[in-house]
Each structure stands twice: as C-alpha cells, then as structure tokens.
C-alpha cells in the first residue's frame, strides 16, 4: 500500500525534535559520503497574470540510512511584489479552492515502490526549521535565551519551533513588514510555543540584545546588516539574500548549508526571473566564495568545530535546500506513520506497472 498523508497528519506525527534527530543522522551519512542529493531545478514560463511566472520546482535525494529516495515537486505561480521597500518572492494560491500545490513522493530504495505521497507544506517547514535548529545547536551560545526574529510567514514559525527545541528560550521579539501580520503571528506562536513573543516595529528592535537572530523571510533583498551585530550573537538565515555580505564577513565562524549554491534555472525566452536578476536574490552574495566554506554536514560530523568562545559571532546560512533532506525527514515521518497506522492507504499498483519503458 502507498500512504497518502495530509499536512495535519505530518503535524501530528513528526515533532521538531524528531526532525532534527533525523537530519543529524542524515548529515552524518552525507559526511560519510553515502547520501545522494540532486540540486534543485526551477523551470519558468510566463504565468497566468501580469508579472507572474509559472514555476515547476523539483529536487530529489536518497538516504540509505532511511532506505528512502524522495522527490519534492512544486507547481507554483510566483510573483515578486515589493513591500516596505523590499522585493520578495510570493507564491499565489492559484489552485482550485485557493490552494497551493507542493508534493513529496517517497520511494523505497529496496523495491522502488512509492511508499508515500504527501503535501510538502508542513514537512518543508520542519526540514528548514530543523536544519537551522541543528546548526544553532552547535553555533549558538549554550545559555542563549533571547531570540530576535525577522519575518512572520510560514517559515518563521518553523524557525521558532527549532530554536525552542535546542535552547531554553525565554523571550522572542518579532519584526515583519506588516504590523497586523506580526501581531497575529506573535499571538499564534506565543500560544503554540508557550514563550512570550513581542511584535516590534523595526528590525533593530527585534535584534538588539538578541542571543540568536533568525531571519525567516521571502526576501530577495538584504534584511539584516552588519551594524546590528553584537558580540556572542548567532546569526541564522534561511535564504541567501537575507544577510548583507559585510554581516557574513563579520562572523568569526561561518557555516553554509550546501556548496552548489544556486538552483538550475531553465527559463523561457523573454521571461525575466526577478530573483535571478542583477542585485537581487541569487545574484546577491556573489562575492562570497561558497565553495570555500564549510557545510552543515562538516559541522555535524565534527570535521569543523562549533562555537568555541562566548563572544564569538557565529553564522549559519541555509543558502539552498537539498532534495536529500526530504529523503531523511520523509523517511522518519514514514516510519512514524506506519507505526501509528496513519494516512490513507492507496493501492501501490496504481503507481507501478508491468512494463519497463
């Protein structure tokens, strides 16, 4: 049987702690030269409305430790509006009923069969949060208590779940460009995490005095600047453009997620992709030589060290996602789903065939 899982089931089945543990195992495997990862690819053609593009994004990977190959597929209409002077990437809920389309398919590497099909929203948030949480556990001060958060969208919640899983967080200050959104976000996540979240009117107010600064935005411009850095801070970013280069250079200890630092872009003629344009998105930080920097699996495996001194400024850039993460986190989820008898069972024969083309 092939399991069809919902986002609600993912939320119920897999905790952030379990996600971080799965990622830790996976990065050790990657460091040992076993896991396999395919760089993200984005295909772009003109979209249904002015200024929008249709994008099919995919990435895949294999984790032998979990016995799982995974592919994540997103069918999106993407726009790049400007809010409070910052350009950002926004996916429109253009599917029937105002929905988004993102899927993860898990396959058994022993038999090839599809094990599970699930929407990617919750798993995506867990794996991004878990990745930054895993890094923060090795790079933030042990006694980190105060978090400054920039962003109040989907990923911001995941970042807070992750930092609360690895540190005794006492206070969170949150800034985002829309006042109503950050207020609503603070209310929702204070209740969910049991930690007081204060919405603040400027990024400086969020990061001043913070032990950990977490950027969790959709920006394709910089949102955090070197002048805001204080000794002992850990800087955590989920998107390549978030930190200005000077802030990254200021870090005493810098770790990135993965070296193959840009997606494969396949773009129709006459279509301009704002996040691939000069001075935006993927073109930012080009002065930084990603290939020379240690990756998360080096940090997890201990071939590069974590924080050594309390006053160090440390930085983790979750610069690009890996398909491999879905194999690991998806593998952990699948085990729990099977154990719990969760999900809708679909006949595997629907997705297999008696011919090989």
């Amino acid at each position: 049987m092939t399991l069809l899982l919902s986002n609600e089931e993912v939320d119920r089945l897999l905790t952030m702690r379990e996600c971080i543990d799965a990622l830790e195992l996976a990065y050790r495997e990657l460091a040992a030269g076993r896991g396999t990862d395919r760089r993200r690819s984005d295909s772009f053609v003109a979209g249904p409305s002015a200024g929008s593009l249709y994008s099919l994004k995919s990435m895949d990977g294999i984790s032998p430790a979990f016995g799982v190959g995974a592919v994540r597929i997103d069918s999106d209409v993407v726009t790049w509006p400007t809010r409070a002077g910052k350009a950002r990437r926004e996916k429109l809920p253009a599917a029937p009923g105002g929905r988004w389309v993102g899927l993860v398919l898990l396959f058994s590497i022993a038999t090839g069969e599809p094990l599970a099909i699930l929407p990617d929203g919750y798993l995506q948030r867990l794996r991004v949060g878990g990745t930054n949480g895993l890094a923060a556990d090795r790079l933030a001060r042990r006694d980190a208590r105060v978090i400054g958060l920039i962003g109040s969208g989907w990923q911001a919640g995941g970042q807070l779940m992750a930092i609360c899983a690895v540190r005794q967080v006492e206070r969170i200050r949150c800034y985002s460009t829309t006042a109503e959104r950050r207020v609503a976000f603070a209310r929702e996540w204070s209740a969910r995490l049991g930690v007081d979240i204060e919405p603040v009117p400027s990024p400086e107010a969020a990061v001043r005095g913070a032990d950990v600064v977490m950027c969790a935005t959709n920006t394709i411009d910089h949102v955090f600047f070197e002048r805001w850095i204080e000794p002992g801070m850990h800087l955590s970013s989920i998107k390549r453009p978030e930190l200005e280069p000077a802030a990254i250079r200021r870090a005493d200890r810098l770790v990135i997620h993965a070296k193959h630092a840009t997606p494969m872009h396949v773009v129709a003629a006459g279509v301009e992709v704002p996040e691939a344009s000069a001075g935006k998105g993927w073109k930012l930080l080009e002065e930084i030589d990603f290939d020379a920097l240690p990756e998360l699996h080096d940090l997890v495996a201990g071939t590069v060290g974590g924080r050594a001194r309390p006053e160090e400024v440390t930085c983790f850039l979750n610069n690009i996602g890996r398909g491999y993460q879905f194999a690991a986190v998806g593998g952990a989820l699948y085990r729990k789903a099977k154990a719990a008898g969760a999900g809708r069972e679909l006949p595997t024969e629907w997705f297999t065939q008696d011919v090989h083309p």
């Binding site: 986002n7 460091a31 030269g33 396999t36 990862d37 395919r38 760089r39 295909s43 772009f44 053609v45 979209g47 249904p48 249709y54 099919l56 995919s58 895949d60 990977g61 294999i62 032998p64 190959g69 592919v71 597929i73 997103d74 069918s75 996916k91 253009a94 599917a95 029937p96 009923g97 105002g98 929905r99 988004w100 389309v101 993102g102 899927l103 398919l105 590497i109 022993a110 090839g112 069969e113 599809p114 099909i117 929407p119 929203g121 919750y122 969208g153 989907w154 070296k259 396949v266 129709a268 699996h297 595997t348 024969e349 629907w350 297999t352 065939q353 008696d354 011919v355 090989h356 083309p357």
Partner: protein
Amino acid sequence: MTLLLSNEDVLQVLDPRACIDALEVAFADLAAGDAVNRPRSHTYTPLGDGHWYLFKSMDGAVPRLGVHAIRMSSDHTYDHEQGGKRRREKIPLAPGGRYVGLVMLFDIRTLEPLAILQDGELQRMRVGCTSALAAKHLARADARVVGLIGSGWQAETQLVALAQVRGIAEVRAYSTSPERVAAFSARLAARIGRPVRPVASARDAIAGADIVACATNSHDPVLDGAWLVPGQHVGSVQSHELDVATLERASVIVVRSRDAATFHHPPGRAPVEAAEVKRLDGRLGAKVVELGEVVSGRRGRRTPEDVTLFTGGGLGASSGLGIQFAAVAHVVYEAAKAQGLGRELPTEWFTETAKP
C-alpha cells in the same frame, strides 16, 4: 479531479496523429524559447554487488498546451557482465514484480495535477511519434517505401506513427531473429493495413527504401552508411545504431535538443554533474540541428537528393525530454477525460492550504 491513468487506459485512447501534432507544437515552441525543458537527472546509490537504486527525472512545460509534466522512474538496476558485454538490467522489485515509472501532468494556470499516468505506453508513443514528426518534415513528400530494422515494441510504434505522416506502400522489415520478424510483419501488416515483408538482411531492408527506420536496442551499428542512396531519410531511436559513415553521409543530423542529455548525481559529499552526450566536432558538428528548427521550417531537407538523419536518442543513449511527456500526456489526458476513462482522485489530496 485528478485522473489516475494506467497503461491500459493510455492504450485505449492513444491517438498517434494527435500525439504527433502535440509534439510538433512542443518542438516548435522549444525552438522559439516558449517551451522549456529541464534535462534528465539520475540520482543513485549503490546497494552492493552491482545492484543500484536509481531515481530518474526530467520535466518540461509547453505553455501553448497549458501544461507542465514531470516524468519519474524509481528503478532497481543490476550491472553485470554477460558474454563479455556490460549490461544494465532493470529488476521489477515493486510488489507483484512491477516497475515504477510515472508522469505527473500539471495545469500551468491552475497549478493542479491534472493526471498521474503510468509511463510505459506514453514512453513508447513519444519515441515513435517523435520519429514520425521528424520524418514528416525530413522525408521526401513522395516517400512510400519503409525499410525497418528491428522488430520489438519500438519498431511497432515506429511503423504505426510513420503511417500517419506518409502514404506507405510497403514496409521491408529485418531483425536478427527471423521468427520474430515474421510474426511482427504479419501483425503489423494487419495493424497498419499495408504490406509488411520480412527480408533477410538489413541491407535488403534499406535497398529501395525512402525511409529507413532503425528501432533496436543494439549497442553496435545496425547499418552501413555506404548502403544509403540519395534522397533517403534515416530515423534512429538511439545513436549506437548508427555508424560514422551514416553521420558522414547525412546532409543534416537532426537531434531533439542540443542540451546536455543527463546530469548524474552519485552519492558523496560533493555531488557532481556530468553531461553525457557525444560531441560532434568540425564538419559533422556543423550539420547538427534541432528538431524544433526543422519543424519551424528553418532547417531540413534542401533537395530531393539529400540524405536526412534524425537521431531520436540525441547523440548519446536514448532519453526522453520533459516536453515530449508533457505533449503526449496532455493528448492522453484530454482524450481520457472526454471518454470518461481512468480513476478520478480528489485533487485536494494533492493540493494544500499551507504555503510551502
């Protein structure tokens, strides 16, 4: 509703003419830059003793048809030596001794998955219909005699599709197994309503043919370019079938795409990407054009005496393009929907209210 379509469903609605037309749109739009194609990727991991897990994918959008498709294969392969030759075999290990190959078709306006299809029959049809599309534009308008090398499933779809683009008077078929080619000839004559005559050699099949169709999985050339005569069109499903003399003889070498065929992702700390494509230099390289340029009328046959060549596997091993699956799957989806075929799955299973 999202349609789940089995190979049997696909077979029921498959219309080679409609597939050729859709592929024509796809290749013309690829040449114009309106359609896009993401090269095939192989992600794999060793399972020991020559066994591998291999995940393969490719995707492409054809906006004029309103669709994007991704094709995925989840394979267990076994590399071994047999008779001094290296072979790679796919082993059907999914429950019931089955293989795993799927196409997901997305609507680029509403994002939703329109259909999930088993890829076996689609794969056959995209190969045969792409060859026929090339023959439509490259063979002489008065081409009537087909010389066929091969008698497997590729050979079958080659003939069925070719019959859509030229008034075939006769087919001369050769394969290494006389029994197989005899049975094949009888079956195909009935299917296309034209005489199909088994012949004793590849040379006999080619002599007097207007269209030469090579449809084998041979690792070695199946014809000698010296046998070709002016005016012939040669179609091949994978480039190992062709000898250098055939490439020399061709006035034009048509491929589906000049892009890299495949990116490889082996396990390891630093994934590497390697393109697997034979680069033709100098005089031969100068003759290479893309099928999209041909269907757009910019390149192709210039005189009735030209020898034209289409190599459907590009200049490496045969592999699909995402846009081919988008075009063929779209045709199948529309027909299945009109005929009420397939299993309807709630689209909400595959969409979400969370913003990923």
